[in-house]
């Protein structure tokens, strides 16, 4: 299994009038910004690989499914080392 690390990332988020939030874009770094095409699922989940408990967003990004986690007000992804 490849090594993974917990990477906190800046995320552009839209709040609608009801207060629901939807992540729009993940800014991995200056050269890697990924628009979120679709949110497929949101649920409370534990991240088994790098640790952490929070709301897990299943995001469709460039045709691929990726998990984005919101834990205690911060966003993180399991990034390849």
């Amino acid at each position: 299994m490849d090594q993974r690390e917990k990477r906190y990332v800046p995320v552009i988020v839209r709040f609608d009038a009801e207060g629901k939030l939807r992540p729009l874009e993940i800014e991995f770094d200056e050269n890697h910004k990924y628009p979120v095409d679709k949110i497929l699922d949101v649920r409370r989940a534990a991240c088994q690989s790098v640790g952490g408990v929070g709301d897990r967003y299943t995001c469709l990004i460039q045709g691929k499914e990726t998990y984005l986690w919101m834990e205690k007000g911060r966003w993180f992804v399991c990034a390849k080392r």
Binding site: R44, A45, A46, C47, G51, G52, V53
Partner: protein, 416 residues
């Protein structure tokens, strides 16, 4: 009332499991969450399943634990995180019933009697909860399924970790009777000793012992334990919104250094009494019983109590009575590591108390008024604004803010 369906959920090695979940690196190493060493609360709070076979146990001093398991990794507790995870667990439980009664952060009883129509059998619900705790929180739980709270708890203790044990009427004797009496809630070392002295070492023997024998030996508690042992506990699972009646207010502190003489103890009791009285005033109540708790450097503890002649919330009086109790019962075989004071038998502080001609009561009233004035000052200008000069004789002890830093969370099966 028909048969109830009660679950008892116990999250295994809770603090250690939460730490292992969020720090994946030490997952395969022996791990213990310990009180902070600098302030000398250096005991093991929870050890994980890798450390337990080495003999690392809750309550052990860190150095003892390291002796048994040199490669033990110790972590300081992060209570905010444990409270967060505990709250998430409760959210899971509340999807199935509104009767959820927590017992500490890691245990809860659930009454799912009314939920079986919607969610399936109690065991099905237990399995679903167990899976969700694993998936959503990344830790495991043991769940007991029975028709009362006491038996459900025996069920969750029966097999760990990550297990579901159903104890039905037909399997009750087979599963419960061989268990040692200590497995029963409220059978501590002292009660167990008394029971063993009359040849009762298992729950089965306790269940079959005539009630009058138990009552003679253990008083009222004997009857309660007999009911527990026979699986006939009828206490309800409290509702989520239930606000318990507060019956006692206590504070305790593990001091930054050992207490070695009466002066030290006097200082600490005063400090604790101020906090206890101030909290009683917040609840508009006075206590009729005073209880002290002392734990020595070998972690042996004793509790002694005494009834007061009249209800009181005078810190001076509480400290004095506490000191009397202490002098009478503590013989200084070892220095003291932690100490506590509790006001019990609370009664409502109704308007004006009957004025008395006796000097003793006038003195109490005077001290209570002084205490109230101190409360007001502290509310406006902070805790350190006004203090007893005695507390400055040893700043290391005297500067602990017992009230705000060391609130004891009361948990008890009887809702005390």
């Amino acid at each position: 009332m028909g048969t109830r369906h009660i679950l008892h959920c116990d999250m295994n090695c809770f603090y250690a499991s939460v730490e292992m979940q969020r720090h994946p690196e030490p997952r395969d190493t022996p791990l213990a969450v310990c009180g902070s060493q600098e302030e000398r609360h250096g005991i093991v709070l929870t050890a994980n399943y890798i450390a337990k076979p080495y003999g690392v146990k809750t309550g052990m001093a860190i150095w003892q634990a390291k002796q048994r398991c040199p490669q033990l990794v110790t972590l300081s507790p992060d209570m905010d995180e444990y409270i967060r995870i505990s709250r998430y667990a409760r959210e899971i439980y509340e999807d199935y019933t509104d009767q959820v009664e927590p017992f500490g952060l890691d245990e809860s009883w659930l009454d799912v009697t009314g939920s079986v129509g919607l969610y399936g059998s109690p065991v099905t619900i237990a399995r679903e909860i167990s899976n969700r705790i694993k998936f959503e929180l990344g830790i495991t739980a043991s769940i007991g399924v029975a028709d009362n709270k006491i038996t459900a708890k025996l069920g969750s203790d029966y097999k760990k970790p990550d297990a579901i044990t159903q104890i039905s009427e037909s399997s009750y004797k087979e599963i419960v009777y061989p268990l040692p009496v200590e497995a029963l809630l409220y059978v501590g070392p002292a009660t167990a000793k008394k029971l063993r002295a009359i040849g009762i070492s298992t729950i089965g023997r306790l269940a079959e012992c005539p009630e009058d024998v138990l009552q003679r030996r253990l008083g009222k508690m004997g009857l309660v334990l007999s009911t527990f042992a026979r699986g006939l506990d009828i206490s309800p699972v409290q509702r989520t919104d239930h606000i318990p009646n507060i019956k006692s207010v206590g504070n305790s502190a593990t001091t930054p250094r050992d207490l070695e003489n009466e002066e030290d103890v006097k200082l600490m009791l005063l400090l604790l009494a101020e906090s206890v009285c101030s909290r009683m005033r917040d609840l508009a109540s006075r206590c009729t019983v005073i209880e002290i708790y002392v734990r020595d450097t070998e972690l042996r503890s004793m509790i002694r109590q005494r009834k007061l002649p009249a209800p009181s919330c005078s810190s001076q009086e509480l400290a004095e009575v506490g000191m009397e109790l202490f002098r009478r019962h503590y013989h200084w075989e070892r220095p003291i590591r932690s100490i506590g004071l509790r006001g019990a038998g609370l009664v409502e502080d109704v308007g004006a108390v009957q004025m008395s001609l006796y000097a003793e009561d006038q003195r109490r009233d005077k001290w209570e008024r002084i205490d109230r004035a101190v409360d007001h000052l502290r509310q406006r200008y902070g805790y350190m604004s006004v203090r007893r000069a005695l507390l400055d004789t040893d700043p290391r002890l005297g500067h602990i803010n017992v009230r705000d830093d060391h609130t004891v969370h009361p948990i008890g099966f009887f809702g005390g």
